[in-house]
Chain length 270, copies 6
Amino acid sequence: MQARALNPEENFIESEPYYEITGDEIAIFEAAYQNKLPVLLKGPTGCGKTRFMEYMAWRLKRPLITVSCHDDLTASDLVGRFLVKGGETVWVDGPLARSVRAGAICYLDEIVEARKDTMVVIHPLADDRRALPMEKLGTLLEANQEFCLAISYNPGYQSVLKDLKQSTRQRFVALEFDYPTQELERKIIASESGIAPDLAEKLVKFAHMTRNLKGSGLEEGASTRLLVHAGKLIKSGVSPVSACRSAIAQAITDDSEMLAAVQELSSSLF
Amino acid sequence: MQARALNPEENFIESEPYYEITGDEIAIFEAAYQNKLPVLLKGPTGCGKTRFMEYMAWRLKRPLITVSCHDDLTASDLVGRFLVKGGETVWVDGPLARSVRAGAICYLDEIVEARKDTMVVIHPLADDRRALPMEKLGTLLEANQEFCLAISYNPGYQSVLKDLKQSTRQRFVALEFDYPTQELERKIIASESGIAPDLAEKLVKFAHMTRNLKGSGLEEGASTRLLVHAGKLIKSGVSPVSACRSAIAQAITDDSEMLAAVQELSSSLF
Amino acid sequence: MQARALNPEENFIESEPYYEITGDEIAIFEAAYQNKLPVLLKGPTGCGKTRFMEYMAWRLKRPLITVSCHDDLTASDLVGRFLVKGGETVWVDGPLARSVRAGAICYLDEIVEARKDTMVVIHPLADDRRALPMEKLGTLLEANQEFCLAISYNPGYQSVLKDLKQSTRQRFVALEFDYPTQELERKIIASESGIAPDLAEKLVKFAHMTRNLKGSGLEEGASTRLLVHAGKLIKSGVSPVSACRSAIAQAITDDSEMLAAVQELSSSLF
Amino acid sequence: MQARALNPEENFIESEPYYEITGDEIAIFEAAYQNKLPVLLKGPTGCGKTRFMEYMAWRLKRPLITVSCHDDLTASDLVGRFLVKGGETVWVDGPLARSVRAGAICYLDEIVEARKDTMVVIHPLADDRRALPMEKLGTLLEANQEFCLAISYNPGYQSVLKDLKQSTRQRFVALEFDYPTQELERKIIASESGIAPDLAEKLVKFAHMTRNLKGSGLEEGASTRLLVHAGKLIKSGVSPVSACRSAIAQAITDDSEMLAAVQELSSSLF
Amino acid sequence: MQARALNPEENFIESEPYYEITGDEIAIFEAAYQNKLPVLLKGPTGCGKTRFMEYMAWRLKRPLITVSCHDDLTASDLVGRFLVKGGETVWVDGPLARSVRAGAICYLDEIVEARKDTMVVIHPLADDRRALPMEKLGTLLEANQEFCLAISYNPGYQSVLKDLKQSTRQRFVALEFDYPTQELERKIIASESGIAPDLAEKLVKFAHMTRNLKGSGLEEGASTRLLVHAGKLIKSGVSPVSACRSAIAQAITDDSEMLAAVQELSSSLF
Amino acid sequence: MQARALNPEENFIESEPYYEITGDEIAIFEAAYQNKLPVLLKGPTGCGKTRFMEYMAWRLKRPLITVSCHDDLTASDLVGRFLVKGGETVWVDGPLARSVRAGAICYLDEIVEARKDTMVVIHPLADDRRALPMEKLGTLLEANQEFCLAISYNPGYQSVLKDLKQSTRQRFVALEFDYPTQELERKIIASESGIAPDLAEKLVKFAHMTRNLKGSGLEEGASTRLLVHAGKLIKSGVSPVSACRSAIAQAITDDSEMLAAVQELSSSLF
């Protein structure tokens, strides 16, 4: 069996992740970290928020515990619960309690997807109390010095029902993310997929075309991640036009007219 | 008792499934598999997506674990849960964890039907982390080299509530499926039901008539599967008109006027 | 204690049920059974679908396991669950798993009333895989040769929310049922209730009057079953007018004007 | 401790309940009982449906098990469930299973209030199968000869959401109940509360005045039960006007104008 | 530790509660109690319903068990449930079963807030059966002679969703409560807070001003309880204007214009 | 492991919290405390309600137990529940029961977010009964002399669904909070972040500009807490413009036009 299982708090990022700096995001994250202020990352899918967190975890030498939030994620999922094992009831810390104890960086991805009680359980951790009430244990857990809380969300998706309340957001230092510059994105694609720079440049051009269609029939343009996917398929021998269709066009839309239009754009490039 | 029970990870497809190639779908799936990219199959019901997965599982020599998704399918159903057995609590892996450990192909059929937490649990498996967070076990399971994730959905059915979010779809290489060509479909029906080619051709013609009615009173036309059903009934001695009524017309609609119209089409053919 | 408890898979129909053939329904059901295709029965309440299933179970000499579906019926109710008995956890098969193992006919009555996960659990049983994934046991149960799946629904009741999806219905051979012919219905009533043929004929006339009111104030006309009820009350000494009021009119509507109109119809006959 | 606990199936009605016949309801109920047909009682609150059931239970010498249905009543509440006692899991029959085994009359009061699965669990009991599927036990319980199923509902309250489906109602012999005649009601009140006949007559007049206001500001008029309440208060020394206000007017409405109007009616009588 | 825990059925009111009679409410309650009829108290918040129940419990020398009803209160919360203790399952009576056994007065405060099954569980207790079906125990508990059921609700708050059904209300003798007369209210405030009669009179005047604003921007006027609160703050040295603002104005509204208006009223008085 | 766990009732505030008095809030809270009246704090997020509670807890020398309320908080979460430990069932007090026993100040933050049953469980604690019914234990817990109940909510956020009912609010003495005066706020920021008074003054000016935009595109202006965050980032070397963007502008809005406008305001100041 080759699958490897590890404890979340052992999840140290051992080698420097590939990350290209785009502004003062590292300085502000570090200032927030020194002042024990929690951080909120905003931005579209696939633009590098998760990679940035991996980079900061490596830089700050702290384990990174990521939780992908969803509709059914409750406070208990984060804090922990009692489990019956061998007739005995044992407490099992959730990822948030683990992070608080171990001084890890806890990254709650797409926080607004979670149930409302999860928002509230992070409130005392996100102000100067820095404490996690573990009500089922009947204890109040004061955070380790190194503990750091980060959350992310994509403002483009928010509806009235799934919004960050002011009483939550006014606890965080906020960083906004976007797609990298054309130059930088070309470099990233070539580096991650191994294709030639001119092909990478064409993929970036193609991505910009789709990003310009955002709001005119496309919900979102092609992310940097999709360009890397297309590069990898090309590298494996798939034709650029086929790769753009499967890795990019079909991945961003189901609309047949839009697919035809996007396909035409790719044909004009390759 | 003749019913046979087997472990899902032993579900190797032993003999080559009958599959007719329609384009570059096999090459793209193999390139995605080599690059450890997850795959998304799109297309209408009964057009061969499940058969394609069986074919690729046979070709890649990996066990195939299929999960039919539904409204109540939760992340725990996929990842696993604790069960009490003989006073002792034991962990039972769900089909996704089994696949991750065994290096199987995990095929989540009609993924958008599942609850939202299932979408999120596959996110870290569907990017370059390739890890499954098993929160109740408190471990992070890194996927076996051979593990492959595939999902399917039918774009024709999607509503606002049941749509694939961009943050999910922009992780997959997407393949679009459709009904086979007329020539190919005739071949499939004759081969699977054992009826004569000219009868198979008439069934294909009948199917095309119903497919042209899609949107004008029919939600969906007759799938290849239904043509095979009709062929089998005919082979067992049912008259072609009766077989078309029971296996095709009554199976695709309840509307009495539409039933009469479709019945007239079949009478004109047989 | 005279109540008798038996295992569902012992539910063989021992004596031939009273069933009057109306078309080629028996031939088509047998052809579907031989080809291992699942069957869908459509039609209004009380027109004989359940009786037909009893007749086919008797004819095919297979036990019949019927499940009346409802809003809260889940996949676990069909597949099975773990129960704690004497400190030990034991698995108890649900009616679907029992049928699959025993090669019984499993008849899911009013399938669209069930929760969505039940639809999906029957998908792999309803195509050529003929396998039941038992996820809590971690096994895949391949169906016995004799196993047969049948479902029913009443198209007249379906709403947008409770409809059979194309991906479900395009797996079944469909048979449509309706009320018997006038001649046949008279015969059935006389035979089941023991009243004289002329009285039975009047009841059938009365039923046709109510069926003609369907859509003009009546949701549904009187079913054959209700005519049998009225016949039995008359046989026990209740006057025909009283019997029609209690067994038919009051059973099909609460509307006082409609009740008066229906009552007048019965007075004109008896 | 004077509170007395007894088993539901021992609930034989020992002395003849006070019941005044209003039509052929007894003859029809007995004919239905002889033919093993289930019975549906329709009518407004407090008009004597429960008393009629007590009377029939006494007359037929069967125990009476009554279940008041509500929004959260599930099939398990009726059929039974496993309970852990002393480390051992034991099955506890619900009131419906108890009735089926003991040959009791099971009376489901206000059936439409219950959850949908309860409707369905009574279907096989309410046709000629007369069997109760106990899915958690894995048995099919065939009803005792004497078992009788009766349900009630108040058509005046039904909404689209809470209606008796045709597939349910077309299984029952239906009896309609209403308030007793003026003469009879006077007799009932005098007999149950012990007040003089002329006072009872005034109360009946008062009730008729309120019943005439149904639909013009009153949801429902005063039931026979409320007249008995008022009679009892008067017998205990409360003035008739005060008794009518507390036992009748305030019990049927909160609207201040309607209260004033109703109060004026009572002042004109007493 | 000074907190004192006692069994609900020991909750005898030992000293006469301060209660000012306003009409024939005591006589009617006693007549209902003698005739074993249940009682329904109607009226606005803070007008003395709870105090009246304490007074009647003292007068009738019965323990008083109060349950504040809410959205999630189920029948099990009232009747009781099984709990596992030391490996053994024991039954724990809920407050209603305790009252029925001990012959206590059970007071269900704001009954319409509870879930629908609670309404139904009190039905057999609220008619001449006076029995509590304890379905999980499989017993029918006949009430002790002294048992008395009382419920309350505030008609001013009711919506369509939260209304007392006729089948429930037509089981009770109903008493309507309102604020005390001006004279009486002055007496109550002076007696409960210890302030001088002229200050108490000003507070009553102020309350009447706010009660006149009900419907014109205020949902409800100041209750007697709030006047006692203001009196106590004044007695502790807070200025009358501040006391009226904190104990009354801010307690009844958040609207800034209404607050200013109410504040002006209080300034004109003090 | 440096994380520290403590019992909630040991949570005494040891050193005087930094709190600037703004009116008679301390006198009124103390008068309410002496008279055993519960207190309701109203006001916007981040204006100092939590700090005020810490200050009063320090001043009154009582432990402070804070519960952040949310959509899924039930009465059981506050009162306590049975847990199975080592085969034995033990009762674990919730934070409210702990407070009642220990004579702590129990502060329920954003009470209206909680489920409805929590509102009702505090009713008997919030009137002169001062008792907590612990229904699962079957006891009534009378509060310790020192016990104090305080709740908070933000009137600006309330919707029809999430409002404080009159029957709840008319039990509390209410205190309204708002942002501190300009002078005071400058002092607070300089003291908490360590930046120079003139920079603090500019931050306060900036905050007032955003507060004036409330209702014209901003849901809420910058709170005092956010100004302290910005001050800390500046102190750590981040430029004032960057600090205002990340700690304030991005924290209060996602709207790109509003962000540009707010950014311009900050550029004009720094």
